[in-house]
Point group: D2
Chain length 179, copies 4
């Protein structure tokens, strides 16, 4: 499942074999995120503060097996490979089920045990709603979801599920080179 | 790290390449476990009630990465391969850290999301002690720990960390054939 | 695809989930193999000479991807784990295609580069036949094929394709304990 | 082991954690390759004919385990992911040992069995020399070696051994975007 903005990141260069591509009309500013609190950073991180960097936003839940096995290890590899001056890896804990299990306390222990060192925001819960605020605003379909945001703050690609490292490396670099 | 009882499970047949083997003087009854509550079973499971089956006891913590990545998937494979009339796979949630994160509620969500279907006992916490009761009694060094108990209820092998599938398959069968 | 002799190795203990099990009427002596020449051993190895050991016979072709990726690494693990006094791992190069590519010279280089240290026999080619002699006699359907032979020299299980390490470890130990 | 030309592909964006980077003074034209014969293509492929595309040149030997397990599967992934109008994946069979095992006939069977569909050139052997012509000219240290050549025909990076998919995806895209 791939949801993309137009023009798709590296669309010309990557063979468009994905069936489920849904192009947006044109690049649009990524919605600001709503975060209750942050781990692994002393200060709140706004989209604006990260302007100029390519952002790799990894939405996950700590009890989602696909996140634990595939997406978070991939986010760690991205964080280890690319220059932190150029690419910001941001985790987003988007709890939409098992709220009493995936508490901030539990997340803190999870982050420590899994040695995640990039900043992680806890998506703001919304009274009476299943989905937390940022997840709803980004129209995410579940976890894991990977969002790529360019240096200007435009959302350029959104992937539900896992994408291969080769493709992700290419998509990140396409945005880095985009200026 | 391998702690074994004497005679070691399949010791004659498996090349003894493990350096850290600590043979006990002779097979001894496995200590009864102390469990607060059970998941995936309607009734409490005592060692006695399982007499006649080979028991594969998998001690784990839901936030231990080695458990999530290696040992629990292995326990699932054991549960899927062997006849349930012959081999009982039992999980034991031995929380010795992050107690406020790894609550029974959190475990229940974890078990569901990871599709664990074998019985899992929650090791009894002890007032003022870091280690829960069964973990202490079995002298476990951490998680994951795998304990093999024979049909008579004697503890025959105890492994701290991960052992390969090939070895585990052989050790289980050695106990099945032991009578 | 599993072809087995009766009683199946560990049949009682392993849940019989394999659909393609074809039980033979009763255990029968494994046919003697016909080998042109041997690698990794100074002397010819007959079934008779190995009497008393459990034999894990791995039929393969050096250009068969499934053999290279799965079966030969598994054979190496078996060779490394079990006592050589108890278990004999034997490779059998059963060339039935690309004869001009998989020559004895090429096999020798392959064995060296892949660091295979167990004895390997080259199955005897037969004038005018596609299948080499041992392969035909064992009624193998392709490569890889794994054959388990008990201490008395009876063929007890034959697997076409790959079986999991857990199952293989159990099946080998079942034969070790059988007598 | 990484040997690179200056400016390194994506050097600014990728954290330079590799110790063994040896920058050349400046980008230089990739040496033309010397190929005896081609597989998977009807016509000879010169560097010149590929001008305008990014070239991923994978030097390998069919009996090199690291090539079979890691590099050729990676080359297949590159071939499957990127547009063939933009990226040319080229295999180069650089035999420097076991010449009598890795013959053109053997390679042909290998290519078929491993379902390699990109063009593969057989590096030209040189009378009295261990290394074939292109391998020597490129100063390769062994197999596998991955060479990245930009749209203008300049060699931009050369990796001995394996590099992660994430990095390779980024390096390829850096060259695609370079013009």
């Amino acid at each position: 499942m791939v949801r993309v903005c137009e023009p798709y990141v590296g669309a010309k260069e990557i063979a468009m074999t994905q069936n489920s591509t849904q192009p947006f009309a044109r690049p649009r500013p990524a919605p600001e995120w709503h975060v209750e609190s942050w781990l692994n950073t002393d200060q709140s991180l706004s989209l604006k503060a990260l302007r100029g960097k390519v952002i790799v936003l990894e939405a996950f839940q700590m009890l989602c097996p696909g996140c634990v096995q595939s997406s978070l290890p991939q986010a760690k590899r991205v964080h280890a490979l690319f220059s932190h001056e150029e690419v910001a890896v941001i985790g987003l804990h988007t709890v939409f089920e098992h709220h009493d299990a995936m508490t901030p306390t539990a997340l803190k222990a999870f982050v420590k045990e899994n040695q995640l060192s990039f900043p992680i925001g806890i998506d703001q819960g919304v009274e009476g709603e299943m989905l937390p605020a940022t997840m709803a605003r980004y129209n995410m379909q579940g976890t894991p979801t990977l969002v790529l945001i360019d240096r200007k703050g435009d959302r350029r690609a959104q992937h539900f599920g896992h994408i291969p490292d080769l493709q992700l490396g290419a998509e990140i670099m396409a945005l880095m080179k985009a200026g």
